[in-house]
Structure formats: structure tokens, C-alpha cells
Amino acid sequence: MLTFAFRKLLTLVGTMIGIAALTFLITNVAPGDPARLVAGPNATEDMVATIRTEYGLDKSLPEQFIVYMGELVRGDLGTSIVTTRPVLEEVMRYAPATLELVFVAMFLGIVIGVPLGMLSAVYKDGPLDQVTRIFSISGVAIPAFWFGILLQLMFSVDLEWLPVSGRLPLVTRPPEFVTGLLLVDSLIAGNFSTFWVSLQHIILPAIVLSFPCLASILRVNRAEMIEVLQSDYIVAARAHGISSFRIVALYALKNAMLPTLAMIGLRFGWMLGSTVLVETVFDWPGIGLYAVSSALSSDFKPVVGVTLMIGFFFIVANTLVDLAYAWIDPRLRKA
């Protein structure tokens, strides 16, 4: 198991290098002269040339790549033109908000999707199955930004139950920074009113983000459960007198969880990407919103930084899924 984990870790590093190379290439393939962009529209040729040397843009592409990778290894993602602060620092500042949103959304997706999928499989073609089918098809079909605005109109504007946007009201002082996740930090600080307020803020964006993910987890889990429930070892477990509940919730579910886990890993990456939309709609101060506002002001270092960050989280999540696979399935541990 340890060597398995170690090997996975090596793959993680390899993939990370691949992502870095890809982002480097994309920024260099993109049209426009970065030096001219930095210098501004009124710059003279001399100023552009100076900036080009300063940023190392006059070197050959491989040389630039080596410099770039060197900077990455040292944790230097460059400097934002707009804020003139290091990109890494800014990404780290915004990342917890995004992660908090994604975690809550993923939590909803799993705790609702898995049991619903399981029940739909057990009561296949029954009323519940029909309802979840409609539910999951709409989940995949509805565009996130539209669904977000719909929820805002209903719960915030009409019913006034929940705040429209943001992470905390301006008047609320955020709890002391520990993890950066407000829900966790406020609990650590013992500040339940802040916890409650931040929960109210996160619930709508989390629902919007989790809806498609929940739908696909539900469908995959349902399909797998149906398959597994027909397998021989389930018949055998029934014949040996094991209770139906135990068969479904333990014997069958554990087997059905393998493909579901793969779906969860994929959906995690998808969610990180979707935060760009959802955070814009809900004015959520995470890396998605940061990337959008940077892109709008032609500030590309932060965009690359966010891309790398999302890539990193995605790979980590999928490495965890791989490890969970081996933890669940003893047959994979040897490989």
C-alpha cells in the first residue's frame, strides 16, 4: 500500500510538470506581444525593448521555459500587473473561498447523490426512480449561471430568506484565519453566529455548483447498484441470511462505489472550473472571480496562476480517488 501511494505521488509530480508546460505553451502561443501589452499603448519601441529584456522575453523559448519552471519550483508565479502583488500570494488568499465552496458542493453531491442513487436502484422503475430521473436530467441540462440567477431571484429577492451574494456581510468580522474556510474557522473560534451567517451565504452557490455533480453521481451510482445487485455474491449473501439492509448498504454499495468514486474525482475538477461562472454570479471572492477580473484587465499572470492552481487541486483530488480505490478494492493494492 505504501509503495502504491508513493508511486501515485510520483505520477502527481509528473502530471504537474505537464500542466506547467502546457500553460507555458498556451501563454506563448496566444496572440499579442506580452511586452507591448505590459508597456501600454503609448510606449515607445525603446520602452518595449527594455521591458522585453526585463521580463526575459528576448530569450529563446526553451530558455524561457527553463526560467519559468525554475520560478515555479521556487513558488514564483510572477506579479499581477493590476495589483503589483505576487500572484501566488493572491491566489493563496482567494483559494480558501473557492475550496470551501467546492467542498460544500461536493459534500452535498455525495450525501444526496449516493443514497438517492442507491434507493433508485433498489426501487428501480418505482415512483422515486422516476422522480430522480427527471431530477438528474435537469441537473445536467440546466446552465449554472441561469440556475444561479433563478435561485437568487426566488430565495433572496422574493422570499428574502438568503443573502444574494458575497461570502460574509461587510459588517461581520471574519473569524481569525486558521484554515481560511469560514465555516471551519468560525467553529474553531466558537463563533456560531458567524458560522450561521456564512452558511447562509454559501448555501445557494453551493447548490448551483453541486446540482450537475449530484445528478451524475446519482446516475452512476444507480446504474452500478443495479448491476451489482444482480451479481452472484449478492444472491449468495441473501441465501446465507444476511439482512437486506446490510446487503444493499454495505455489500453492494462498497462494490458500486468504485465507479462512483471515479465520477466524483472527475466532477471535482469540473467544479473547480465551474467556479469561474458561479463565483461571478454570486460575487464569491474566490480564484474563479479573481481569474475573471484579471482576464478582463488583460492581466495574464494571475490567469495562468489560477489555471495551475486548479490543475494542482484536480490532480490532488484524483490522486486521493486512486488511493481510495486501492483502499476499497484489495485487488488493486498489488498493482
Partner: protein, 548 residues
């Protein structure tokens, strides 16, 4: 004395899309305490449905039309699910056919058996005993079924064990509740010959030691004969004959039983082929169709240790002959067969088909070459895609390898169905609507669709019933002369090999132990291993057991 289990005029229908199918047609059967009853019948005869009904796990959509099943005086015909918990697995328990698929792959052996124990204790209302107590009981059970080192087994997973060991574990699970009746559903079918004998011995010794009442169902009448004193023969949902096993074996009354007994291949009977060859004084000199030279396959595991599955095998298959490959499981037969077609890449060595070295081929030439050699797999149930119709399955090679139009392919598929003696209308059916024998015919039809010259048959009959096996073997021989085919025929069943193969190689641990003319090998084996193999084949041969 009232019978422990009494089945009276039991009729069961299964609802299907096309209306009800009468699966059981008025079954009358009674079992007394201490009985050993065998139920023989081919697949589709309804024997599995019958015993599963006894356990209340009959197929979905099934409906009892008439009759009753009573157990220990209690009517259990339409017992509600909650009352079953006191019976199922505890008073009546079951051993299943395929130990590979009936154990949950994600839980340890110990966990699975202790769970069964816990479920039984819960059902008895006595409260679940401690983890340690259950572990002790589990290890005791494992010991009882003759498994070495129970404490180590406790924390192992199914995939770490052999088929024979897994079957013993299933038996241990079935014994966990000290059952009144033990139902064994084809307990040896999926096992190797030598392991079969061991498992049957185990069941016999348990019957004696625990005074068990056993109902064993099998299509293998030889296996039934070694365990069951009484025997019932099922055919198309009816019991056509029942009585003492000895009487039925010696004086079968019903026409089906007679046919069944006649179909059992006998390792000691000289095949008709030999007489025919003797009559044909000058056997034609034949050329080699397929040659393998120094073929080798080494698997390297991630930890760096090498496993040689096939070690330097050279052979020559002559045009028009049936070339037999025999050996126990793990001897490398299937690896060899797959390498001959390059479904598995050989580590080294050459394969020469019709004078052309195909080991270096790739892409289009390899694809073209594959037209001439086709493969028939062991298990027809998994060799057909359940979501394709039979017509699609047979037409597939034609779609891939030829430019034939849809209509031509359809016509060819019909013609092929005709060749394998199945109705044309079968092309609209799906695999699950066919019996095992029919499916294997479909697989053969698919394999001959492109008029190949060589068929590689990997245990083509071992997943089939004996009577069906006999039909398929006859049919294969007919087909060979009709279409001018050459076969490489792989089997672990020596009787079958002797019956149909011209030339045979005996394999052990990836190497050829002995090869030569089949009759010569069977009549005067040179190697000790071959002698031992034939001897154990003779001992477990179905025919031999019939003369107990």
C-alpha cells in the same frame, strides 16, 4: 415419519415480455432427514429455479401457480420476507456453482463468514456474540472444511485464493448455521478435475460427520453418483424419473435419462475415428498449416519477478487435423492458444501460418491474416455481448472484415445459423434468450463467418451440459469435414480429447510434457505426469463413477 422437505405438485411460472413461461410443471419431491438427494438435468431444466424456490430466492417475476413447498411441517410456499430470516441460511443453506463469483471481492473471508454468523445469531434472537467469539467460530468452520491455516485465511481476500479453496469457503459459510438441509447447486462444475474429486470427498465426509441432509443438483451425473443415494432426473421443468441412484444408472427408464447416460464421454473407449483411420490404409500426407517455433511468454510483475506462462513450445498443426492441447488449469494452455492467434504478444519465438511468419505482422496484414484463424471461447455466456442480437453478433466479423452490404450480411448470418443448426429467426434474439449450447453454436457460427481455415477452440464444451457437449462435439466434427477446417482443441477433459483429437500435446507448467498421436498417448503414455493425469482423469471421469 413426515418428510423434512415436501414439495407437492409445485408449478411455477415466470412472467416475461411474451407472457408467462412454465418453468416448473408439477414437481413432486420429498426429502427425509439424512437423505442425500441428487437432481440431474441440463441447464434450463428448471433445477436451479426449483432449489432456489425452496430457499425463497426464486427469480423475479415468478409466480407460484399451484402446489406447495413445506419444510419441517411448515408451509413456506409464500412465506413473507421477514419469516425467511429464520430459515434462510440457517435451517436451509446453499453452496453455489461458481466460487469465483459468489464471494464478494471487497471483503475479507473472515468478515464474510462472521457476518453470516452474526446474521444467524440476530435471527435466532439471542443477540450477536463478540467479535472474538465469531472469529473463533469462523476459524473452526474453516478448519472443518479442511482449509489449512484458518487464522491466516481470516484476513485474506477472495482473489488471493484458488477456486478449490473458495468453494470450501462457500461450504463453510453454508455450514455456519448448522443447517437441516444443505443445497449444493453444481458445486463442482467450475472446478478442475483433481479439485472436483476433493470437493466431492469433502461433501461426503461432512454428510457422514454432521449427519447432513443434502440436495445436490448437477448436470454431471457422475458427481451426483458419488454423493447422492437417491436421485431425480429433471427435464423441461418436470421430474421424469426418480429413485435410487444405482437403479437409475443401471436401468434408466425414461428416454431422456437413457440419452443422458449415453452422452457421457468415456476415457476408456476407443473412438470411432481410430477404426476409420485403420480402414483408410494410406493416410494422406498433409502439410503443416500452423507451426510454432520456440514460443515463449514471460509475464513480469511490478515487483520484478518473472512468471513464465509458456516456455519454449514448438508444435506443428497439420492441415485438416484436430490438434489437442490438454493440461490442468494454470498449465499455460489458454496463453498458448491466444499467442497462436497473437491475441497475446509472445515474448519470443515465431508463429508460422501457412508458410508465412506472422509473429512480425502488425496493422493491416495482421488483420487480414486473422480472417483465416478464428477463436471460440470457453464460456459462451460471456463471449457474446448481451446487448447485441444474435444476428449482430454473427454479422460482426463480416462488417469488420468485408465490404458486404447490410442485406448480404443478413443473408449470410441466416445461412450461418442454418449451418450451426439453429432456426433463422434466432437472429432477432438476444443472448440471454438462448441456452448455453445454443450460445456456443452462435459463437461457432460467428467464428466460421469468414470461412477461416483454422479454428482455435479453448475449452469449447466445458461450460456446457454433458448431453449438449456431446451434440457440440459431434457437430464440430461434422463441421470440420464440411468446411475443411483445422482445429486446435484445448481441454482439461481427457475423455473429450481422446474422443476427437488426432494429435495431442500434454502441457504442464508452460511446457510440453509429451506429444504424439492421441491413441498412442492414451494407450501407452511415456511420461509419469501423463500417466498420472490419465489415471486421475479415469478416477473422476463421469463414466467411471457410474459403475460404482
Amino acid at each position: 415419519m413426515t418428510a423434512l422437505l415436501d414439495i407437492k405438485n409445485y408449478r411455477l411460472d415466470i412472467g416475461t415480455f411474451d407472457g408467462p413461461v412454465h418453468v416448473l410443471k408439477g414437481i413432486n419431491l420429498s426429502v427425509n432427514r439424512g437423505d442425500t438427494l441428487g437432481i440431474v438435468g441440463e441447464s434450463g431444466s428448471g433445477k436451479t429455479v426449483l432449489v432456489r424456490s425452496v430457499l425463497g430466492i426464486g427469480p423475479r417475476n415468478s409466480k407460484v401457480v399451484e402446489g406447495s413447498i413445506s419444510f419441517g411441517g411448515q408451509d413456506i410456499t409464500n412465506l413473507p420476507e421477514k419469516d425467511w430470516t429464520k430459515i434462510r441460511g440457517i435451517r436451509i443453506s446453499m453452496i453455489f456453482q461458481d466460487p469465483m463469483t459468489y464471494l464478494n471481492p471487497l471483503f475479507t473471508i473472515g468478515r464474510q463468514i462472521s457476518d453470516v454468523i452474526a446474521a444467524h445469531e440476530k435471527a435466532a434472537g439471542a443477540g450477536v456474540s463478540s467479535r472474538a467469539a465469531r472469529r473463533a467460530r469462523t476459524e473452526e468452520l474453516l478448519d472443518q472444511v479442511g482449509l489449512p491455516n484458518p487464522s491466516m485465511l481470516f484476513s485474506q481476500y477472495p482473489h488471493q485464493l484458488s477456486g478449490g479453496m473458495r468453494q470450501r469457503i462457500l461450504i463453510a459459510m453454508a455450514l455456519a448455521g448448522k443447517p437441516d438441509i444443505l443445497i449444493a447447486d453444481e458445486p463442482t462444475t467450475a472446478l478442475d478435475v483433481t479439485v472436483q474429486a476433493q470437493v466431492l470427498d469433502l461433501i461426503n465426509s461432512l454428510v457422514e460427520k454432521l449427519n447432513l441432509t443434502v440436495i445436490m443438483i448437477s448436470h454431471d451425473i457422475g458427481a451426483i453418483a458419488t454423493v447422492a443415494k437417491r436421485c431425480a432426473v429433471m427435464y423441461k421443468g418436470e421430474i421424469v424419473e426418480q429413485g435410487m441412484t444405482q437403479d437409475i444408472l443401471n436401468r434408466p427408464q425414461h428416454e431422456y435419462t437413457q440419452r443422458l447416460l449415453a452422452a457421457v464421454p468415456d476415457i476408456d473407449v476407443e473412438p470411432e475415428r481410430v477404426a476409420a483411420q485403420a480402414a483408410d490404409a494410406k493416410p494422406a500426407k498433409r502439410s503443416n498449416l500452423l507451426e510454432a517455433i520456440d514460443l515463449k511468454k514471460v509475464y513480469r510483475s511490478q515487483s520484478g519477478t518473472d512468471f513464465t506462462a509458456v516456455n519454449s513450445i514448438s508444435l506443428a498443426v497439420k492441415t485438416g487435423e484436430i490438434f489437442g492441447v490438454v493440461g490442468e488449469s494454470g498449465s499455460g494452455k489458454s496463453t498458448l492458444a491466444r499467442m497462436l492467434m497473437r491475441l497475446i504478444e509472445p515474448t519470443s519465438g515465431d508463429i508460422i501460418f501457412d508458410g508465412q511468419n506472422i509473429s512480425g505482422l502488425s496493422g493491416e496484414p495482421l488483420r487480414q491474416m486473422r480472417r483465416h484463424m478464428q477463436f471460440v471461447f470457453q464460456n459462451p455466456h460471456s463471449a457474446l455481448n448481451g446487448r447485441h442480437t444474435i444476428g449482430d453478433a454473427i454479422g460482426e466479423p463480416l462488417r469488420i472484415q468485408t465490404n458486404m452490404s447490410r442485406r448480404d450480411i443478413e443473408a449470410r448470418a441466416e445461412a450461418l445459423l442454418d449451418i450451426v443448426q439453429l432456426p433463422k429467426m434466432f437472429k432477432y434474439r438476444y443472448p440471454h434468450e438462448l441456452s448455453g449450447g445454443q450460445k456456443q453454436r452462435v459463437c461457432i457460427a460467428r467464428a466460421i463467418a469468414l470461412n477461416p481455415r483454422l479454428l482455435i477452440l479453448d475449452e469449447p464444451t466445458s461450460a456446457l451440459d454433458i448431453s449438449v457437449q456431446a451434440q457440440v462435439l459431434d457437430f464440430l466434427q461434422e463441421l470440420r469435414s464440411e468446411l475443411n477446417l483445422t482445429y486446435v482443441f484445448i481441454s482439461h477433459n481427457l475423455a473429450v480429447i481422446r474422443q476427437i483429437c488426432d494429435h495431442t500435446i500434454v502441457m504442464k507448467r508452460g511446457e510440453i510434457v509429451e506429444q504424439g498421436d492421441t491413441e498412442q498417448i492414451f494407450l501407452s503414455p511415456r511420461e509419469e505426469y501423463t500417466k498420472a493425469l490419465i489415471e486421475s482423469g479415469r478416477k473422476t471421469s463421469q463414466a467411471a463413477n457410474l459403475q460404482v
